[in-house]
Amino acid sequence: MSTVTVKPGRPWKRTPKQVMSTVLVLLVSAAISFTAVAATEMKGKLAYLAIFFISVVVINFAENYFNRGIAAAKDSVSSSVTAAGLVIAVVPIFSILYTIFDYGRAGLNFNMFLKDMSANGPNDPLGQGGLLHALLGSFIMVGFGLLMSLPIGILTAIYLTEIKGIYSRPIRFLVQAMSGVPSIVAGLFILSAIIFPITKSSSGFMGSLALAILMIPTIARTSEEVLLLIPDDLREAGVALGGTQWRTVSLIVVPAAKSGLVTAIILGIARVAGETAPLILVSGGGDAVNANPFESPMGSLPFYIWKGFIFGTTESIARSWAGIFVLLVIIFFLFIAARMLSGSGSKK
């Protein structure tokens, strides 16, 4: 008995010959850009890139025009322009990441996660002192901010998508406007509305209040988008089974949107984790570890970074870069967590 084995294939994939021709176009373009820069007055990386891009477009256009006609030629131009757009968007991101890693590396040491700056000045050698106070302060302030903004943000989103009352339009407008408010305005608001007239002193809690003002619109808007994705079928099914609106929302709609709501929360955290301006105004920015948000100044990562740069010595600037590195890693992990949580929810 003979068995016919059929191998799975992908006939729509590009053949090695086609891939080679693309590589050839890129190589020729690179050669042209080198010769052009060498032969003419033009100088710099930008010149290389510009000439490389133009020659890729021209060669592709010509090749497609002669072999496949004008439509294919136009298609190749738009593909090249799209690819260039991608490069322009991505290069700065990688450049920033690389710079932070490169500069931040020098200031990184394990000791800095265990110590604060109460006994050391920013000018001291890098092994001494640390950013524990800043890390702790950031966690406490963002945590308290989240505690306040989470219920307000999600309830706002529920009002906008589920209750759809007569105030929906003005509230949606206000939430959108609020998400565009410069962060320093939030700091000024807390300063003038609470610190000057009432408490007369800055503290971590004041910082969380300012951060909460910034987080509410982010959480509300993202949650609204997520809740809008839940089909009305489910709401109707819940109500048709004899549920009140509140029970339908809390037992059906919110659980169905759970992963999206978690993403909204994480985006809200990432929005404020790097906020500097309001914290400079209201949190006081101490150098010692302070776990009590209601009394005496509290440090934070952005404040630590800002202070190091203001001081301006080699050591203090290296400290700041290390602080940026730590902050970036935290935000990076938050975004990965958000992606994973929202991904696992949408499958099923």
């Binding site: 099914a237 048709a240 089974l241 004899g242 549920g243 059906i252």
Partner: protein
């Protein structure tokens, strides 16, 4: 279905042979549901004019008619789902066991417990397992039941789904096929023990096999409750229903043209428009 093979021209045969017709009021389940002069609007547009229709307990009534004739709007007025649409308005009375369900002060959630609904598109709750889906109504309406497992099995059995899902009650509802999902939705409606079950084109998204299963389910359920089914499939109406109502809109609001025992509607309709529709001459 295959044994009594039918051509579209012999719908009346199907209607005649389907089963012994129940007589009005022969059920022992109470007066049933009565619509009195029901009108419905969306915004300023009148979409349904003056529909009066009685649904006897323990019978199956099919509502047929071309798209846009107000059938779905009508059955949504019967459990107050009509008001879920923001611009909706209505006039008239809907009496459930003699009580107007639109009377001020009536608890609308109680009405919907008594008048259950199965929708056109299967809509199991995605965040819940099969078992939780069936019992969702109890949770939503905060009802207590001593024997959840018995209720679960009973409802899935009555919906004709038990044998297919009994080994995976903790799988998510979305993992079932379309036809199974729809029967899950029927089981979910049964768990709160409604007196009336409204079905809005329950088979329009399903294949013939699943459709047949749901029709069997309807037959079994009809001895214990009042069933009202909207359908575009006239064969289905002829197969499952005791009474048939024909709705029509001449471009304006939809109206009830004729209602009567199903075999009469399909064999000797009184109105020529009904005759044209059931014989396939238009619509």
């Amino acid at each position: 279905m295959e044994t009594k093979a039918t051509t579209p021209s012999s719908l009346s045969d199907v209607a005649n042979s389907a089963k012994a017709r129940k007589q009005p009021g022969s059920g022992k389940l109470g007066v049933g549901l009565e619509a009195r002069g029901v009108h419905a609007w969306f915004g300023d547009k009148l979409v349904l004019r003056d529909v009066s229709l009685d649904f006897w307990s323990g019978t199956v009534t099919a509502l047929i008619g071309p798209s846009g004739c107000g059938k779905s709007t009508f059955i949504r007025t019967l459990n107050r789902m009509h008001e879920f649409i923001p611009s909706a308005a209505m006039a008239g009375e809907v009496l459930l066991n003699g009580q107007d369900i639109y009377e001020p002060g009536i608890d609308v959630t109680k009405i919907r417990l008594k008048v259950g609904m199965v929708f056109q598109k299967p809509n199991p709750f995605p965040s819940m397992t099969i078992a939780d889906n069936v019992l969702a109504g109890l949770k939503l309406a905060q009802l207590k039941t001593a024997k959840k497992d018995d209720l679960l099995e009973e409802c899935l059995n009555r919906a004709g789904l038990w044998s297919e899902v009994k080994d995976r009650l903790n799988a998510y509802g979305g993992s079932l096929s379309g036809g199974q999902q729809q029967r899950l939705c029927i089981a979910r409606s049964l768990a709160v023990r409604p007196e009336v079950l409204l079905m809005d084109e329950p088979c329009s998204a399903l294949d013939p096999g699943s459709t047949l299963k749901i029709e069997e389910t309807i037959q079994q359920l009809s001895s214990t409750m009042t069933i009202i089914i909207v359908t575009h499939n006239m064969q289905q109406a002829a197969r499952v229903s005791d009474y048939t109502g024909f709705f029509l809109s001449d471009g304006g609001p939809g109206e009830l043209v004729e209602v009567g025992p199903t075999n009469e509607i399909f064999s000797r309709p009184k109105d020529t428009r009904t005759e044209n529709y059931v014989t396939g001459r238009f619509g």
